[in-house]
Assembly symmetry: C3
Homo-oligomer: 363 residues x 3
């Protein structure tokens, strides 16, 4: 019979095996720049909920990134690490990307998962309160990852939980595990951010497109950026909003040695930026809004050769696909690392790090 080529062209596409495209720093670099893992630091996450990026200091973030690197390098077996644990993925606001990332992380560690992919399939539809929902998760799971359209819902739920909660995005507030994935990518790219003190002239200039005041990924990313005062020179916020920071974030930036600039001219600023963080989508309580048109990047943008772009994806018009195959593309690596940093988080919260990490990797 005739087999139309069109039907089989992608079946065994050799490029498929070529691996991740874009900028793919070796996780080993991150480990090379540091001593072994510090269990005392990671143990601060034991039994802890993760509600905010504000819970992390530089030490904890960097040790977590190192553990993620060891996991990504498959340095030791973890297939049974959490075999007796159940993760409940409670996504009252639907989100495949984050839900599957938490579920995949749990399954990689031998754990089990139960899921709520959509509030419409829950008792919430019957007016169930966070109080009673909390009791449910206490009884059915060992940890719960939650996304909710309302900022207050996650903290409210946490009040009634005896098990740890992972904030998977609460309204326009925060998305801490995403920010951990963002910085895991940056620390693999420039390990000296974590361990060295970069000479002043080489300190990073970071551009953030969006409004930290009401875009959860941007806010959490910025909060972690403030941990690296010694190695970040300036952070420039690109936004059309009058007050992109908002009161809470402004208090944090005011207390930081990092200079904060504001601009509405991205292309003018690109020559100074080492990192550009983009996210076109903001959840504004009543739904998603796009900010993609105002500031966008493509292969013709005047980026410095070694500038990297971060984007939590899914992308809109603001980030052209013609950048995917360039070294500016750190966003695929950022997405790729999310499942490893979440595994690191789970191992720490369940206090199982010492059970799986061989002594030679410990400090």
């Amino acid at each position: 019979m005739t087999i139309p080529a069109s039907r089989v062209e992608h079946v065994a596409d050799p490029s498929r095996k070529a691996g991740l495209i874009g900028n793919c720093p070796d996780p080993a670099q991150l480990l090379g720049h540091s001593p072994g893992l510090r269990l005392d630091v990671l143990d601060r996450l034991r039994d802890a909920s993760v509600l905010s990026a504000a819970q992390f200091d530089k030490d904890l973030l960097c040790e977590l990134a190192k553990l993620a690197a060891l996991l990504q390098l498959k340095s030791f077996p973890v297939l049974d690490a959490l075999e007796d644990k159940i993760l409940a993925a409670a996504f009252f606001e639907p989100s495949t990307r984050t839900r599957l990332s938490f579920e995949s992380a749990m399954l990689h560690l031998g754990g089990k998962t139960i899921s709520v992919a959509d509030a419409k399939t829950t008792g919430v539809a019957k007016g169930e309160s966070m109080r009673d929902i909390g009791q449910m998760f206490n009884s059915y799971a060992d940890i719960v990852a939650v996304r909710h359209t309302e900022q207050s819902a996650v903290g409210e739920l946490c009040k009634y939980l005896r098990i740890p909660l992972l904030n998977g995005g609460n309204g326009s507030d925060e998305h801490p595990s995403q920010a951990l994935a963002d910085w895991y990518a940056l620390l693999k790219w420039r390990p000296e951010i974590a361990y060295g003190t970069i000479p002043e002239k080489f300190r990073l200039n970071i551009g953030i497109i969006g409004t930290p005041g009401n875009m959860r990924t941007v806010k959490s990313f910025l909060m972690l950026a403030l941990l690296f005062e010694k190695n970040i020179n300036h952070i420039t916020i690109f936004s059309e909003m009058a007050d992109p920071l908002g009161e809470e974030i402004r208090a944090m930036t005011n207390a930081s040695a990092i200079g904060i600039n504001f601009s509405q001219d991205l292309s003018q600023s690109l020559e100074y930026l080492d990192v550009v963080y983009m996210n076109a989508i903001a959840y504004l309580g009543d739904g998603y809004r796009f900010f993609g048109d105002a500031f966008s990047l493509d292969a013709s943008s005047p980026l410095k050769p070694d500038t990297v772009i971060l984007h939590p994806l899914a992308r809109g018009e603001e980030l052209s696909v013609d950048l995917d195959h360039t070294q500016h593309n750190l966003y695929f690596n950022q997405a790729d690392g999310a499942v490893w940093i979440r595994q690191a988080l789970l191992l720490c919260i369940f206090g199982r790090v010492a059970d799986v990490v061989p002594p030679e990797h410990l400090s």
Copy 2:
């Protein structure tokens, strides 16, 4: 940087570790009152479907509760007990609470799960019949837990199954596994209900708020209550309906030695009640209706000091949260026990009890 206290207040809340609030009887009490587990009784569930509370007699219910207590006390390992089995959770009527409870029970025993969380994501949307759906589950799973808005659907599906079916709620008819959880809580609270004969003056008076005739949880709870003729004095039904029982239930209550009263004055009756069973939500075929306003309880209600309240949750206005921290609150314990009684049910149906329970726990 400044970390707003508000962002971390719940992270390591010490009260989180305090455990379940409310009335938490020790499962060991239940075991203390009885000889070892009777395999011959539990074996009556082997390969059986569970459609109705009417399938359980006092012996079977009590032995099942004892097995659940052993599981809750983690008396022996069960992590691989059902590793070769798959549970299909088929919730054509969405319900997170019951679906996750069945899934969690299966995962605790090392089993696997496949799920339908919403009829809109099934072939049912294409007009699939229970006959063809049955063939699907026969081929893909070893047991199926089903919830459906139509009373007839569950029995109809069972006709075409070669694998056991667990009724997770069928329209306004029954919810037997919920009733097992209800009674597991009561038997832990008063083991003498199961094993002793309570002196007449101490026999229980139970109040049921709702209409057994068309509220599935209430109906199944009442059917199991009728098994304890020797230890229950009166059951009082609180309802505004002319005929809260309906023909089928009336036939059962007429055949019972337990006195059945009807009342519309809850507060007047509270001084006589040892147990109050509440559920504000009734599924009436065409959707949910709330009965919460007519009869409600809060901390100021004239309850006897040792009276306990049961509620399948999620609650409405009828049950005030100010009761949560009192000894009247057995409803959290009731929710907490659901996952253990469902594990007991699964072990019996798959005939794996003898494989996991050590001889010292057998009679």
Copy 3:
């Protein structure tokens, strides 16, 4: 108490244990007609995506069917075969039957699953592109089974995947794993189709009710039928459409030695047909349409005694349930085999066949 018989009638229905009804050929027959498994042939599926039935030649289809038969006969343990692998079931077009079949197959082999049961619960709702969705699955899973309403979406997604993709139905185009299940049933029923050369007068006449040009299951079934030129005499297409084949399929049938007829009179033709393939449902890009009324079968249809009927189910009016208990019913066996042929597919793609199949079953 009185237990209404109606409440327990199906609980322990002895017929439940009776097993599959209809025509149930023994998988051992298929193995009996052939030498051991040919690893070299099955290895052609290693790391391959399965987009189209056109990827399979006769050898590959038959070896795959033999592996499925060994799995269905539980000839060797497979409970840990894929314990380190994760299947993502990405059903942007909802479908319980196919999704649960892939998930069940993965779980039978000890693999793990993450699922998207409904596009409304995904980032797709936020306008996510296949390009970015691909990166997500690359990072979170080891293989992805996809169904989508748009024909182009599956090939488009495959372009961005580094992991294999299984086409679970793409618009009105193809459904290759369904066709593999169809032919697994036929090869168990008549192993000589696979291995022998049937004398001309006994060669099969196959009737296909539907339009291969725009019904994905019908199209994929026909494409595999064309592999058996030596043993199929005629294929008759029953359709009311002017051009039921369409250009691509016509090119394939023109290149085949099998005679293709067209008819609008099913009952007239039944006396000549050995196999009748039915499917009333066609996905026509903008939704499902039913073709059940034009051509239908029931127990009174003038079928030859040994004619078998295939139907991917769920059925509509076109296939009467009064055929379920007859030997014409191969459609339940077809559904039952789907989970085994999908397990065979997964073992081959992950290159794990040699790890689980004992030498005595190899050629």
